[in-house]
Amino acid sequence: MAAHAAGDQHAFGELVRRHRDRMWAVALRTLRDPDEAADALQEAFISAFRAAGSFRAESQVTTWLHRIVVNACLDRVRRRNARPTSPLPEAGPHEPAVPRDAISERETQLAVHDALGTLPEEQRAAIVLVDVQGYSVAESASILGVAEGTVKSRCARGRAKLAVLLGHLRNPDASANVRPDAVTPPPARTREGR
């Protein structure tokens, strides 16, 4: 982004283009609705273009771009509240084509996708960034505008629920180890605010 600061007006557009597939993935997996994801991204990108002149380093702008995308998505999730979401199409422009010999894998992916949709939005956003998109906890914290401990805590709660939903915990009713509804840790252990 130094090129942009130096007056290279190509830089920002190129940067947005380079990252937009990843941001599309974040938006789509956070909102679970292609139309809403498109609206959120458009809103976010226009905001980004409006403020592009302030960027000082590429690392700053990429984090910021992701942040406004995630925030735009979370705002939309909150606004729609209990409104039902449209499931992702099983094939089409939003998902890669699936070979017939990969049906099982595709079913697993759909199960993961559906399970993600059951998480509270803030847990889902953290999980999408860290576990699905592969951002570090530090990057995710910066994108979400929260402390790293908060990201870890949200991921922990989300994974615990997903582990049950996805059947990775084979005996969820046995012992105190596994309780699908017990995903909120006691305050003494959490570090949400840090």
């Binding site: 007006q9 609206d39 226009i46 302030s54 910021w64 406004i68 576990d131 870890k152």
Partner: protein, 280 residues
């Protein structure tokens, strides 16, 4: 896990003995525990098969999440975003070519969450309803090829939408904006029509031309392809006269035709109040 059924703990740290609750193990797995607690808990878990199975399950969950395939932004979404960004840039070029709305704390240097509140105030959204309808009907394939690159703002919009993408007779979105409120007509003049590009690009407010067939009839009346898809539309008051501003692609990067027609535009009423081209 509630306080009533939690295993006994030592000084508020890890429970003294198994079974360890799932959320505690998930916190350990995620690195969310304070290090002394984590160290002590790991030591206790070494021979706890149930706990080890839970940790393995959490690993499997992460692996499943990480196996989701990468996604690619659909071309029509990319085209819309590029067009909106290019329109904003063409309307209000400044030193950076990004329009007058500076970061004002909204950029990285501003700190705090961006994209909401004062940091991304009133970010306009070009309504995608029409694009959705086209997409769902399979009519938009190949219609939009707007490639981001460089132009005035670092975005080149190769607008190739002219003459395609909209089915004649299909109703167009009317009075749609981010708040779903009817927008008042935008006051413009012949001299500053280019300044309206930014606002019109952000809306699909066709006013009286939003009714089924009206836009097509108007476009035909002014000898344009009725299937042309405007990139934006807004009711305006042009030097005191009501009209509808249509943003039309030109096929040239970051260059747009601004056409103001009368609200009665249609067969026998080819009234064009203004017709100008802006951008590069």
């Amino acid at each position: 896990m509630t306080g009533n059924d939690a295993p006994p703990t030592e000084g508020g740290g890890a429970p003294e003995r198994p079974p360890y609750p799932l959320e505690l193990l998930a916190d350990l797995h995620a690195g969310a525990l304070d290090e002394p607690v984590a160290v002590e808990l790991r030591r206790r878990l070494q021979n706890d098969q149930d706990a080890q199975a839970t940790l393995a399950a959490l690993d499997a969950t992460r692996a499943a999440l990480g196996s989701l395939p990468p996604l690619r932004m659909p071309d029509d979404v990319a085209a819309r975003i590029d067009a909106a960004a290019a329109g904003r840039a063409a309307a209000t070029p400044d030193a950076h070519g990004y329009g007058a709305a500076g970061p004002a704390g909204g950029g990285p240097a501003g700190g705090g969450p961006a994209g909401r509140g004062a940091e991304a105030p009133g970010a306009p959204v070009v309504d995608l309803a029409a694009a959705r309808a086209r997409r769902r009907r399979g009519l938009i394939a190949g219609a939009g090829l707007l490639t981001a690159a460089a132009a005035v703002v670092g975005v080149i919009a190769v607008a190739n939408l002219t003459g395609g993408g909209r089915t004649p007779g299909e109703p167009v979105a009317s009075a749609t904006n981010p708040s779903d409120q009817v927008l008042p007509p935008l006051a413009v003049s012949q001299d500053n029509l280019g300044g309206a590009l930014d606002d019109a690009m952000a809306t699909q407010d066709y006013g009286p031309l939003g009714a089924a067939g009206r836009l097509d009839a108007c476009l035909a009346a002014v000898r344009l392809d009725p299937s042309t898809t405007p990139l934006g539309a807004r009711e305006v008051n042009l030097d005191g006269k009501p009209g509808v501003l249509l943003i039309l692609p030109t096929g040239t990067a970051a260059r747009f035709r601004l056409l103001v027609v009368s609200p009665e535009c249609g067969p026998g009423q080819p009234t064009v109040l203004a017709d100008t081209t802006v951008g590069r």
